[in-house]
């Protein structure tokens, strides 16, 4: 069900109902692709400026006002580069791999509620959909590591695969915890339920623990420091995307930032009230929700960038020990705790 009724009505004047439906699908997909690209570029600029300020220097500030056009210049450079590839690489899989990552990122973006009126795909298993689709993205990374026919890429691909599969469990369990509190998996309904108080306040202890776990697991899901052993530049060259150059590399690069955006957006929806404004100030203004949603998401993204430029990185066995021996037991106890809180009616 698509809720952009304005476009539907306008198209119905010129075509039959079926054609309007499919045209609308295409238009919405194009809009999301454009948002994906522009937002990716904006996030790269933000990362470079934030990094600069942490390291006591200015980031890019020459190209365009405050350096905003810097990433477009970089993207142009990447597009014009030669697409190298090794002779012995399995060329079909080698070219197929980036598409897995991009397609899954786009699919996850489709269910995010940007505001009460702007949501492309409002199914009743929204949260579950995001979790399952992001698991498919791991295949893209495995394929990249294998098909490059390079020892470094293989090691990088293996490491990523293990890491992402392990931390999927933590993310899934946190989603279960918050779904217990909400009583529903549909994204728009979860946001509506938070009109009386954001879940992080109404679920008090259990929700705060869940938020901490979600931040750790989410950082690991999107392969950021302190869990970026995959692309550990100091060790293995560039990990699983060593053999990719030009536009292929840009796909992975952008996909990492979009993954970060998706994790932050999910955190905002299930903990911080989605597109709701604090104390309900501007809830009656239509489309104002987009502003609040973006603000909260950008704050969580800033938090993830802060982690990156402060902490050293964990070794692969320490990473897995953290997940399997510490995070999963805590998660399980937290689910039971949240269930108890809801059953006994102790939430605010």
């Amino acid at each position: 069900m698509i809720t952009l009724t304005i476009i539907t009505d306008w198209l119905m004047k010129y075509m039959s109902a079926d054609a309007a439906f499919y045209t609308e699908l295409v238009i919405v997909a194009a809009i999301y692709l454009a948002v994906f690209a522009i937002f990716g570029l904006f996030l790269v600029w933000m990362e470079r400026r934030v990094a600069g300020f942490f390291q006591l220097r200015l980031g890019p500030n020459r190209v365009g006002p405050m350096g905003l056009l810097q990433t477009i210049a970089d993207a142009l450079k990447l597009v014009t580069k030669e697409l190298t590839g090794t002779k012995k690489a399995d060329s079909y899989l080698y070219r197929l791999a980036p598409y897995f990552v991009i397609v899954t990122a786009l699919m996850s973006m489709a269910v995010l509620p940007f505001s009460a009126e702007l949501q492309a795909f409002d199914i009743n298993i929204g949260l579950f959909f995001i979790a399952s689709v992001s698991s498919v993205g791991v295949i893209g990374i495995f394929l990249a590591g294998w098909a490059s026919n390079n020892k470094y890429s293989l090691i990088g691909g293996m490491r990523t695969g293990i890491q992402m599969i392990s931390y999927e469990l933590s993310v899934g369990m946190v989603i279960v915890t918050m779904a217990t509190l909400a009583g529903s998996l549909r994204m728009s309904e979860i946001v509506e339920l938070q009109k009386d108080g954001w879940f992080i306040f109404s679920g008090h202890i259990s929700a705060i623990i869940a938020f901490a776990l979600f931040m750790i697991a989410g950082t690991a899901e999107s392969n950021r420091t302190p869990f970026d052993l995959v692309e550990a530049e100091s060790e293995l060259g560039a990990g699983f995307h060593t053999e990719y150059s030009g536009m292929n590399f840009a796909y992975y690069f952008l996909a990492e930032f979009i993954n970060m955006f998706i994790i932050s957006a999910v955190a905002v929806v299930i903990f911080f009230g989605g597109w709701l404004s604090p104390f309900g100030i501007t809830d009656s203004i239509p489309y104002m929700g987009v502003f609040w949603f973006m603000l909260k998401t950008l704050f969580i993204i800033f938090l993830m960038m802060w982690f990156r430029w402060t902490f050293p990185r964990l070794r692969i066995d320490q990473l897995l020990t953290l997940e399997w021996k510490y995070l999963i037991p805590i998660n399980m106890v937290n689910i039971v705790l949240m269930a108890l809180l809801v059953w006994l009616g102790l939430t605010f």
């Binding site: 390291q55 970026d228 550990a232 430029w309 050293p312 990185r313 692969i316």
Partner: protein, 374 residues
């Protein structure tokens, strides 16, 4: 229980070779290592050197002693001053030239500033190797203060070329004392901050504690020296055992830690920076008056025989060994580089550990590859 066989033991695995090639972000310079791996465990590390070999030892057989000092700056460029000091001290001892107190104090002060600069760069790179990329920027910003002091007095920032046989090349600049005092005050505020950024970080501790353990006997047998050896409890500070220049005029402690692992080696260098600041503080107000350059003959010929001089650089125990036949140029000159001796210890430290540990161990040994390759 003896007959229990695990499935994992029956799976046949094969060792494979991985090349950490000459261009690599983690090897500090052009060095190639061939690793033999079993899964992620390292079985053997074999270095292949020579990418920056410039045959300095052969060149020294054709250069006069005054020209050899110019070549020593390029050996270990992070402690350039101390290498030249070694050759100058060797020639002065062999010819019996007595240098004035002013020269000794100047040499010691510039040497300690070089040591702090080298350890700051090491600290920045160590953070970078473990993934905390910000430390690199912080370290270089503070190193700029030292570079400015060098530029004013010696004329260059990195390869200072300041020692000559019989003294130093130029007298101290008039701003030298003021700048050194400012620097000491600045560093005393910054060093605790730097220390806390990495040492108190749980992730960093888990990466370095218990990693790369080498016992004291093994350290002595493998010839480890400098801060690397002192992290295992091997007392090898040449400034204490065979003092030279002004080191018998000042009080300082030799840092010895018994941990033997990477964290101890890291901690030794941080504490050494404090000791260097202490030496500088004691000397900055008491620079004696005198000549800055003694007169020597125009043509320098060493007496027949062998001469050895050892100096403590930031990497360890640097030695110059000269066999002279009475002529203008040495018959055979050998530079004993501390990095070359520490390199074989890497093999003993990393047996059975993972690639990520190899990067951390290699970083704590603090190798500068031109020092090894000469």
């Amino acid at each position: 229980m003896e007959n229990k066989e695990f499935l994992a033991d029956r799976i046949r695995t094969m060792e494979y070779h991985l090349n950490m090639g000459p261009q690599h972000p983690a090897t500090h310079g052009v060095m190639r290592m061939i690793l033999t791996l079993d899964g992620e465990e390292i079985k053997d590390v074999e270095p292949v050197l020579g990418y920056i070999h410039r045959s300095i030892e052969k060149m020294c057989e054709r250069d006069t002693y005054k020209q050899i000092i110019h070549l020593t700056d390029r050996l270990d460029y992070l402690s350039a001053h101390m290498n030249g000091e070694a050759v100058a001290l060797l020639v002065e001892k062999a010819l019996g030239i007595e240098v004035s107190d002013r020269i000794r104090v100047i040499r010691t002060m510039i040497a300690e500033l070089t040591r702090i600069a080298s350890h700051l760069l090491w600290w920045g790179v160590m953070g970078m190797d473990t993934g905390a990329l910000t430390t690199f920027m912080y370290a270089f910003r503070d190193r700029e203060m030292i570079n400015d002091i060098f530029e004013e007095t010696c004329g260059a920032r990195l390869t200072m070329n300041y020692n000559v046989i019989g003294g130093v090349r130029y007298d101290l600049h008039e701003n030298f004392q003021k700048r050194v005092k400012e620097f000491i005050k600045h560093m005393k505020k910054k060093l605790p901050e730097f220390d806390r950024l990495l040492s108190d970080n749980v992730i960093f501790r888990k990466r370095t504690e218990g990693v790369g353990y080498i016992s004291k006997e093994d350290a002595i047998a493998h010839g480890l020296n400098g801060p690397t050896g002192r992290g295992s409890g091997f007392s090898c500070d040449i400034r204490k055992i065979h003092p030279y220049s002004a080191y018998d005029m000042v009080e300082f402690d030799e840092i010895l830690l018994n941990g033997g692992d990477s964290f101890s080696r890291y901690k030794v260098r941080i504490l050494e920076m404090w000791e260097s600041l202490r030496i500088l503080e004691q000397l900055v107000d008491k620079i004696p008056e005198g000549e800055y350059r003694m007169k020597t003959k125009a043509v320098i010929k060493l007496p027949v025989g062998e001469h050895l001089q050892r100096v403590e650089t930031a990497r360890g125990d640097f030695g110059v060994y000269v066999i002279s036949d009475g002529g203008k140029t040495p018959y055979r000159l050998k530079f004993r580089s501390p990095g070359f001796a520490n390199l074989h210890g890497l093999n003993a430290m990393t047996k059975g550990e993972k690639i990520a540990d190899l990067v951390v161990n290699f970083s704590t040994i603090d190798v500068v590859v031109p020092d090894i390759d000469r």
